[in-house]
C-alpha cells in the first residue's frame, strides 16, 4: 500500500486539472508580446461592435449540423450559451493575459471536455470564428491596413494559445482516466478469497509484472494473517505465460507465505506450462503443485485434517 501513496496522491490532487502550465513560456514560444496585448486592447471597441453578429452567424453554423445542434436542446439554453460565447469572444480583447486569463481558459476547456464536445467541433469552431472575424477586423482598420494585419495576427496568437490550452485539458482528462483505470485493474485483479475456514484462494489472472506481484504479495500476506489461514491456494489457471521472472515472483511470494507459517499449494498448472517450466529449468520441487484448483482444495482439506463426506440429502436428515 505504501508504495502507491507518493505519485498517486500527487496525481489525485491534480485530477482533471492541467498540472503546472508554463503560461509565460507558452506565450514566449508563440511570440505573444505586450505589443500584442496592446493591439488586442485597441481591437476591443471593434470587437464590441461585431460580437453580436459574429455570435449569431457562429451559431447558425452550429445549428446546421446535427452533431453540434444536439448540444442545444432548447431556446433558453441556446440563448444562455450565446451570451457566454459573446463573453468569451470579448475576453480575447480584454487586454489582460495573466494568471486570471489562464485560469478562465483552462476552466472553459474543462467544461467543453466534460460536456463531451469532440475536438473536431471545438477546433472547427475556432476556424469559423476566424473566418467571421478576419474581414471585420480588416474593414475596421481600412485606414491603416498594416495595423489591421498586426491586430489580426495578435488575435491569431491568443486564439492559438486558447486552442492549445483546450487540447492540453482534453489530453490531461484522458490520461487521468487511463491512470485511474489501470489502478483499478491492479486493485481488482488480485483478489484473495477465503473459501473455507483456514483456506484462502488467490486466483491470478493475466500477466504478473513487478508492480502487480508486489500488490499481490501484500494482499495475500495480509489476508492470510487476517483470516488466520494455515493454507493458501495460489491458482495460475488464468496466467497465460510463466517465464523465469514470473516464476521467480511466485517462488518469492510462496517463500514469504511460509515465513508466516502458512503453506501454499500452487494450482492450475496446465500441461503446457508444466513442460515449459521444465525446459526453463525452474525448480519447483519444494513446492506443492496441483493441476486444478479442485485438487488443490483437496490437499488443503488434508492439511487441515478435514474430510468431505457424502451425506444423505438434507431433507432426509431427520
Amino acid at each position: 500500500m505504501a508504495s502507491r501513496t507518493g505519485p498517486l496522491e500527487r496525481r489525485k490532487s491534480t485530477a482533471g486539472e492541467v498540472a503546472p502550465v508554463d503560461w509565460e513560456g507558452r506565450k514566449a514560444f508563440v511570440g505573444f508580446t505586450s505589443d500584442d496585448a496592446q493591439l488586442l486592447r485597441d481591437l476591443r471597441p471593434v470587437a464590441e461592435a461585431y460580437a453580436g453578429e459574429v455570435v449569431e452567424e457562429f451559431y447558425r453554423r452550429f445549428l446546421s449540423f446535427p452533431e453540434t445542434r444536439a448540444f442545444f436542446a432548447d431556446e433558453a439554453r441556446l440563448n444562455r450559451v450565446k451570451a457566454m460565447q459573446k463573453q468569451y469572444f470579448l475576453g480575447l480583447t480584454e487586454g489582460e493575459y495573466g494568471e486570471a486569463y489562464l485560469r478562465n481558459r483552462l476552466e472553459i476547456g474543462r467544461v467543453h471536455q466534460r460536456i463531451g464536445l469532440a475536438p473536431r467541433w471545438y477546433m472547427g469552431a475556432y476556424s469559423i470564428y476566424m473566418q467571421l472575424t478576419f474581414p471585420r477586423v480588416l474593414a475596421a482598420f481600412a485606414h491603416d491596413l498594416e495595423k489591421g494585419q498586426r491586430a489580426f495576427l495578435a488575435l491569431l496568437k491568443i486564439i492559438t494559445l486558447d486552442k492549445e490550452l483546450a487540447v492540453t485539458t482534453y489530453i490531461a482528462a484522458g490520461e487521468e482516466i487511463i491512470t485511474r483505470q489501470s489502478q483499478e485493474i491492479v486493485e481488482i485483479s488480485t483478489p484473495v478469497i477465503q473459501v473455507w475456514n483456514g483456506v484462502v484462494v488467490a486466483p491470478l489472472i493475466g500477466s504478473l509484472d513487478s508492480q502487480r506481484t508486489q500488490q499481490f504479495m501484500e494482499r495475500l500476506l495480509e489476508r492470510i494473517v487476517e483470516t488466520n489461514s494455515p493454507v493458501a491456494l495460489v491458482d495460475i489457471t488464468g496466467v497465460p505465460t510463466i517465464d523465469t521472472q514470473t516464476a521467480q515472483h511466485l517462488v518469492e511470494t510462496i517463500t514469504a507465505v511460509r515465513l508466516l507459517g502458512a503453506q501454499v499449494v500452487l494450482t492450475g498448472v496446465r500441461p503446457a506450462i508444466a513442460q515449459t517450466l521444465v525446459h526453463l529449468g525452474i525448480d519447483l520441487s519444494g513446492i506443492s503443485t496441483r493441476s486444478s484448483l479442485a485438487a488443490g482444495l483437496r490437499v488443503a482439506f488434508d492439511l487441515l485434517d478435514l474430510r468431505v463426506v457424502a451425506g444423505a440429502a438434507p431433507g432426509a436428515r431427520e
Partner: protein, 137 residues
C-alpha cells in the same frame, strides 16, 4: 505494418512485453503450432524481450514466418543497442546472471526453441535470433 505473420514491436516498457507476447501468440497460433509449442514460443519471447528491457532498456522484436522444405516455422529476432554480452558461453550457462535474476532465461529460451543464434559485441548491442519449426502432424 504489423500483420499476424510478420511484424515489429519496439520494447521500452514492461507493458511492451505484454504486447510482444500477444503478437507472438497470434503468429504461432495462426501458423498452427500445438498448444504446448505456442506456450514454449511465447515463453521464450517473454524471456528474450525481458532481457532487452532489463539489460539494454530499449530494443526491438521482429518476427516472420519461415518455410523450408515444406515445413513451416517462426523466426523471432530480438535486437538492442545495449551493453552487449561479454562472455556468451557463460551467459548460456544455467544459473549465471549478472542482474540477480534466476539466470535461466537465455539457456531456457534455447531449450524452448529449435534453433538459437546470438551475435553480441560489448558496448554495441546484442541480437538474438530463435526459430521454431512446426512438427509434422
Amino acid at each position: 505494418m504489423t500483420d499476424l505473420l510478420e511484424g515489429e514491436i519496439g520494447i521500452a516498457t514492461e507493458s511492451d512485453l505484454v504486447v510482444a507476447r500477444k503478437a507472438v501468440r497470434g503468429a504461432a497460433d495462426s501458423l498452427g503450432f500445438s498448444v504446448t509449442d505456442v506456450t514454449r514460443i511465447v515463453t521464450a519471447a517473454s524471456e528474450l524481450t525481458r532481457n532487452i528491457f532489463r539489460y539494454a532498456g530499449t530494443g526491438v522484436m521482429r518476427w516472420h514466418r519461415l518455410e523450408r522444405g515444406g515445413s513451416l516455422g517462426l523466426e523471432l529476432t530480438f535486437a538492442d543497442d545495449g551493453p552487449g554480452i561479454g562472455d556468451i558461453e557463460q551467459a548460456m550457462q544455467a544459473g549465471f546472471s549478472s542482474s540477480g535474476g534466476l539466470g535461466l532465461g537465455l539457456p531456457g529460451a534455447k531449450r524452448l526453441m529449435d534453433e538459437m543464434e546470438i551475435a553480441s559485441e560489448v558496448g554495441k548491442g546484442t541480437t538474438v535470433t530463435v526459430r521454431k519449426w512446426r512438427r509434422k502432424a
